[in-house]
Symmetry: C2
Subunit: 341 residues, 2 copies
DNA sequence: ATAAATTCTTTACGCGCGTAAAAATTTTGT
DNA sequence: ACAAAATTTTTACGCGCGTAAAGAATTTAT
């Protein structure tokens, strides 16, 4: 590899003996130039390894291939997992995804959207913070950029919504718990960040009513995104004050359940469905970590793959010009039976 | 807020009655213009909320304020945590960080660096994949962009290296384990992705030798970044074949330990330091999740804050022109005593 | 071989902004 | 009120590339 440094397309074009517009055409679609010129360009590419500046490229394109992916919190493995999945789909479809995390902060969420705007994206996949989100900012962004909302819905903005069917989630796992033991108490945060939490509580209430059981909701204090610690502390308090009316606890999400499991451990309570166990604990989400708790956590899992595939497909279709009315797609979860309940 | 859409700085300038170069100057440093003009601009800003295109801005600057942060795998909470920490420091220092994940793939790591190049970054913070990294590509990048390597070192490239003192880590926790019970066996992956693993094994061997104990290294099979599952499977095999020579196991990292804890649970082994426990398990890293395992994991924790602060400071200093010779900074870890060992 | 079709080169402009230099304006000092 | 100093406006070019149009060159068809 010759080590002369190529500064721009102009230089690369002249050094490879091809005109710049043709080189530009090549980079937009290698098949759009004659085979012989393509070969010449690629030969030069071998020698000088030049790459067009992606940001300059997108500056003057009518339709860029940029996509934005915005998630509330990358340090939550649930989001990092789904973000990774989405990124790969975008790349496979020929787009250049850029990932943003709101870090749980509504101001940063708006910031991320503004930065994203500068990329002139062809579209965006956005998982809003939820309750705390700046609705107006999101809506404005959706008006300018084809945006698919996923994970947690915010009004009827954007191209549509793709997420999990939280009613089905909770109904399904509540049903399972009722059939296999005492009906569950419901363990949740009093002021959840995510609107899905409300759906889950409601679904729990519905399910319990339909089975003829008395519901028992324990709403614990705690702000922010440190769900495990919130669950642990709330769990300690609830356990020591005997606030659970049954021996079965359905948590609003897996991270809360993980914290509760720790609280149980710390109180010497054996968790599981064996006769030697004092308590059953179940979560919701199918969090990547739930397999490795002790005991492994029974949960109802998002269909990660289907959610991200559907979300990506809807966005790609919209970018390709297929206009569809706003639509909400909610995918069912899969019950994962493990030892905790 | 008037809802006329501003397309570019030209439009915003004319609508606010200020010339574009002055507006440009304002955005680069609001204090560089007269107070009255600043007020006029900001008044217009209230009305029309325009934002300069960040990518166009950086196109023609000699020194941008862009920074790149590249980590091997965002779905590992260790990296997402340190990435978040670094991002905030960059923002506070007035930079615009962009986060990239290699997703465990060397090709994507190179891709990320190439994309990053297009941003004309003032600098980069890079945590290499390790063994699998394309050394030459990294080196070339470091030659062009002031880059600080963190977490795992690769030769003496870039401005320097900041990470944890893996020798101290393992020596310290090995010492603790020896003093409080049986000397530990060492549980690791045979082909670890991260070079730190080798230092930890070596340090374990050294420590055991210095205490006059016979070392016992169990190297398990497994490729990739699914450490928990690797640890669980390897743990099952090692446990059932009786390959641990003592009742104390020091894992090469926390994620492996988490998998091993699950294996212990599944084999009905009680983990902890109580007399009723069959086995002690310790990890290394201070993984965000280690607090919530059952039992909570004894580990030696990275000084996340100091690592990221030092890394950021070294980079900022270099960007500000302070030329220092290449230097490796390795920070000590803090022993976190919990119930598992 | 010749005409038609395709592809390439040349030329030129645009994206949204940084930045430099000279001219015009405003502010400051006295 | 006046000159000096500080700021702003005007003008112009550059960053790295997309893209359109017209003409030149090459390939394909007959």
């Amino acid at each position: 590899m010759a080590d002369r440094k190529i500064r721009n397309m102009e230089e690369f074009a002249s050094i490879s003996g091809i005109s710049r517009p043709t080189v530009s055409k090549y980079f937009n679609d290698p098949d759009s130039v004659r085979a012989t010129t393509r070969a010449r360009i690629e030969a030069a590419l071998e020698l000088y390894d030049y790459r067009p500046n992606i940001y300059a490229m997108n500056q003057n394109r009518k339709l860029t291939k940029n996509l934005g992916i915005v998630v509330p919190l990358l340090s939550d493995p649930y989001f990092s997992e789904i973000a990774r999945n989405l990124e790969q789909r975008c790349i496979l479809a020929g787009y250049s995804p850029t990932l943003f995390s709101s870090h749980g902060d509504p101001a940063l969420e708006v910031e991320a959207l503004e930065t994203l705007r500068s990329l002139k994206p062809a579209g965006a996949l956005l998982a809003p913070l939820g309750r705390a989100s700046d609705r107006r900012a999101l809506e404005k962004f959706c008006n300018d950029v084809p945006t698919l909302i996923f994970d947690s819905s915010v009004d009827e903005i954007g191209l549509g919504f793709v997420g999990s069917d939280n009613f089905q989630f909770t109904a399904h796992i509540t049903d399972y718990l009722c059939r296999t033991g005492e009906p569950p108490s419901f363990f949740e945060m009093k002021t959840p960040a995510n609107p899905n939490a409300h759906r889950r509580r409601q679904s729990y209430l519905n399910a319990m009513a339909s089975f003829g059981h008395t519901p028992d909701v324990i709403s614990i204090e705690g702000e922010g995104w440190g769900f495990e610690e919130i669950g642990r502390l709330g769990g300690h308090e609830a356990l020591s004050k005997g606030r659970f009316s049954t021996n079965t606890i359905l948590c609003s999400n897996d991270r809360l359940a993980i914290g509760l499991l720790t609280a149980c451990y710390e109180q010497g309570l054996r968790v599981g469905r064996g006769s030697d166990c004092a308590i059953r604990v179940a979560g919701q989400d199918g969090h990547p970590h739930s397999r490795y708790t002790c005991p492994p956590l029974t949960t109802i899992s998002h269909n990660y793959d289907a959610v991200s595939r559907t979300a990506a497909d809807v966005l790609f279709a919209a970018i390709d010009g297929q206009i569809e009315p706003w639509k909400s797609t909610r995918l069912e979860g899969r019950l994962i039976l493990r030892d905790s309940a």
